[in-house]
């Protein structure tokens, strides 16, 4: 990967045929990095495209794949997707700007997301975000440390992460760290900054933002191992625990039953 353009700055790459994206009101243009996507990535690209009946369906996964290489979506990443899928730059940009998970600035080694939707917020999510923000000295959607280097962290507020029964919830690279407090979240982030990787409450061992993005793109390695990381939390099993303790069950199924006939033709 060539990094002759400082991260956070953009320019038209005179060597390439890629047009300079228009500067639109309020929307940062995509940054040029000069990234050349290697053979491995190209192979993964073909693997993803082959999954779908129509190739355009591969666009969302491909943008995730671009993030697995670059840690965000660059103008070069946009051009790469456009080229592989026979789309225009504008078509790919329209998609890349629509979805929250596509980042337009380089992310840290880890992406820390704090749920601040009403439920988590009332249980402490807002306090967690402001504690982390204070500790890292950054606001949401900013990165502490040189993006991509060990211990660098991008902080964001997230909407409901579908784990409300475990609130307040923090995710790191989308792995769940449940039932957090400002103190526990601070400890988690301090560990991450020191290059350590505390195990998520529910989910596979922590890797980094880019590795997770590759999996989200649908390129898994060690899947058989990773699925074995524990996820059965107390909260998930509350009903089971009661049923077990009080011997409650659903009505038992009959030995057999009559399958209904086809409806009469009208």
């Amino acid at each position: 990967m060539s990094v002759d353009v400082p991260a956070g700055q953009s320019r038209a790459d005179a060597e390439s045929n890629i047009p300079v994206p228009n500067q639109r009101l309020g929307i940062p243009e995509f940054l040029y990095t000069g990234t050349v996507f290697d053979e491995v990535t190209r192979g993964q690209t073909e693997e993803i495209i082959a999954k779908y009946p129509q190739q355009r369906s591969a666009l969302l996964p491909l943008l995730h794949l671009v993030q697995s290489v670059e840690g965000f979506v660059s103008a070069d990443g946009i051009a790469f997707c456009a080229d592989r899928l026979n789309l225009t730059i504008a078509e790919v940009e329209a998609v890349a700007t629509f979805y929250t998970m596509y980042k337009r600035e380089p992310c840290g080694q880890h992406l820390v997301s704090v749920c601040t939707n009403a439920l988590c917020a009332v249980l402490g999510g807002d306090a967690i975000l402001s504690r982390l923000s204070g500790h890292l000295g950054i606001g949401p959607d900013e990165t502490a440390g040189e993006p991509g280097t060990e211990g660098s962290i991008t902080l964001e507020h997230a909407e409901c992460l579908a784990a409300c029964d475990h609130g307040p919830v923090v995710t790191v690279n989308y792995e769940y760290y449940d039932n957090q407090t400002p103190e526990s979240a601070l400890e988690l982030v301090t560990e991450l900054q020191a290059g350590r990787k505390p195990h998520p409450t529910r989910g596979a061992p922590l890797t980094d933002f880019r590795t997770t993005e590759r999996e989200i793109a649908g390129i898994f390695s060690d899947l058989a191992d990773q699925v074995n990381a524990p996820t059965a939390s107390e909260e998930t099993l509350r009903g089971n625990e009661i049923a077990d303790r009080l011997r409650q069950t659903a009505p038992s199924m009959p030995e057999s039953y009559e399958m209904p006939p086809l409806p009469e033709r009208k």
């Binding site: 009946p53 369906s57 591969a58 666009l59 969302l60 996964p61 943008l63 899928l85 998609v95 629509f98 979805y99 929250t100 998970m101 596509y102 601040t116 939707n117 009403a118 439920l119 009332v122 807002d126 402001s130 507020h157 909407e159 409901c160 992460l161 579908a162 784990a163 409300c164 029964d165 475990h166 609130g167 989308y174 792995e175 529910r202 989910g203 999996e215 989200i216 649908g218 898994f220 899947l223 990773q226 699925v227 074995n228 059965a232 909260e235 998930t236 099993l237 509350r238 009903g239 089971n240 009661i242 049923a243 409650q248 009505p251 199924m253 009959p254 399958m259 209904p260 086809l262 409806p263």
Partner: protein, 452 residues
């Protein structure tokens, strides 16, 4: 069932003779394997009767499976409660060209937290449900659209697909039946609107996830403009048990018009928040009794029956049977049975503001009432909760909300107006008190800067 007797044959609400605070009785059906060791593995699944329903289904005429689903009374678990068998029967007759099943695993409605645990704990029930459904509707391809952030759920589902394929439950000529079926696991990229079924289809086609004009409905022109069934994870995971037990068995649980068990998700100020699978028609009072009551004994102030898009309820509705019709009759919606419980310490205007920030962020921008309306609602609410509101703001809020409701292109807009209108219905004075200064601002200016 003891805990579901609160509605009569016609589904009308029977006024409770007195609050029934006996703890809800659990009926683990979809959750019954969740506590088993390695519950996600095909070995555990098969040990606990997994893939036996598939074998039975493949020996049945597809049309009869659709009838079975109709008879079971299963209603969609994604929020709207549309009868599943009926939806399947809307597909036009096979024409030899592709048709699809798309599973909605985009779980994003605030408060909703059942599908991701289901996919993590028992992914094979979803896979088996997909295969049976595909067979019943004459499809050879299912796509599971998983919310992009749900990476561990995605891994479990992807691994389940691999395992099912290795054992011959997926692929060509499944169990010697001549039926072929494949499943694609597809990740979204963080957009709540992609849970709306037509936006989901656009997203799956590699476009911005914006809703389509209906009709045509997906049953006629869905994925790649071909006939498509879109169903929620919990709906599809219910298919194998209905095939295994039959519709009469299924109807032993729940109410006449909302049969079956339901995964209720309790969250918030509850002693033991979590997932509780009980018959449809169980009340929140009974669920809370099972969950150890409100945390630290601080009383309940308001709750959502089915996520932030469903009108809020107060303790006066604690005894409403949680079934589609009973909740509707009481003025809200069952939605996703996401029971977010807030205690008396919580400011209602504050919660509504937080939710509106969410809707503003997630509005897809396609239609004006929602795109502009959510923006204005969030701004005005923010002013009110920070103590800088004026009385006219309250009229602006109700006005803007009623201008969105019913005029937006899709149900997200209605969902955004709902917290405002329902909060004004039950708690208008809290908004007034913030304006008059009777209650101090809920948030300081400093906090306003950081959060959104």
């Amino acid at each position: 069932m003891t805990s579901s007797g609160a509605s009569n044959e016609a589904g009308a609400v029977v006024p409770p003779s007195g609050p029934d605070d006996t703890p809800a009785v659990m009926t683990p059906v979809l959750t019954r394997r969740w506590a088993s060791p390695q519950s996600w593995s095909i070995a555990t699944y098969r040990k606990l009767d997994g893939y036996t329903a598939l074998a039975a289904a493949l020996k049945t005429e597809p049309g009869r499976l659709v009838e079975l689903m109709k008879n079971s009374g299963l209603r969609g678990r994604g929020g709207a409660g549309f009868p599943t068998g009926l939806k399947w029967s809307f597909l036009p007759p096979p024409d030899g060209k592709p048709r699809y099943l798309v599973v909605n695993a985009d779980e994003g409605e605030p408060g909703t937290c059942k599908d991701i645990p289901l996919m993590m704990a028992d992914p094979h029930s979803l896979i088996e449900g997909c295969i049976i459904t595909c067979y019943a509707i004459g499809s050879q391809l299912a796509a599971i659209y998983v919310r992009g952030e749900a990476v561990q759920a995605m891994r479990r589902v992807a691994q389940a697909v691999r395992e099912a394929k290795e054992r011959g439950f997926l692929g060509k000529n499944i169990l010697g039946s001549g039926f072929d079926c494949e499943i694609i696991v597809h990740a979204g990229a963080g957009a709540y609107i992609c849970g709306e079924e037509t936006a989901l289809l656009d997203s799956l086609e590699g476009l911005r996830g914006q809703p389509r004009l209906k009709p045509p409905f997906p049953a006629v022109a869905g994925l790649y403009a071909r006939p498509t069934v879109v169903n929620n994870v919990e709906t599809i995971a219910s298919v194998p048990v209905i095939v295994a037990g039959g519709s009469d068995w299924y109807r032993q649980m729940g109410t006449e018009k909302s049969p079956g068990p339901k995964i209720f998700s309790l969250s918030g100020h509850v002693t033991r928040p979590g997932q509780y699978e009980a018959p449809m028609g169980t009340t929140l009072r009974q669920l809370l009794a099972a969950a150890g009551g409100m945390k630290d004994g601080i009383p309940l102030k308001f709750f959502t029956p089915g996520g932030s898009s469903t009108p809020i309820f107060t303790p006066a509705q604690l005894d409403v049977p949680l079934s589609f019709d009973d909740v509707a009759a009481a003025g809200s919606m069952l939605g996703t049975t996401a029971l977010m419980c807030f205690n008396e310490t919580v400011s209602v205007p504050w919660a509504v503001w937080k939710w509106l920030e969410f809707y503003k962020h997630e509005s897809c921008g396609k239609c004006t009432p929602c795109r502009e309306g959510t923006w204005w609602l969030a701004q005005v609410l923010r002013r009110v909760v920070s103590g800088r509101g004026v009385m006219a703001d309250l009229d602006t809020l109700t006005d803007a909300a009623s201008n969105i409701f019913g005029r937006a292109f899709c149900a997200l807009g209605d969902g955004a107006a709902t917290p405002v209108t329902s909060a004004f219905l039950h708690f208008r004075s809290e908004f007034e008190d913030l304006v008059t200064g009777r209650t101090p601002p809920v948030i300081g200016t400093r906090e306003l800067v950081g959060a959104h």
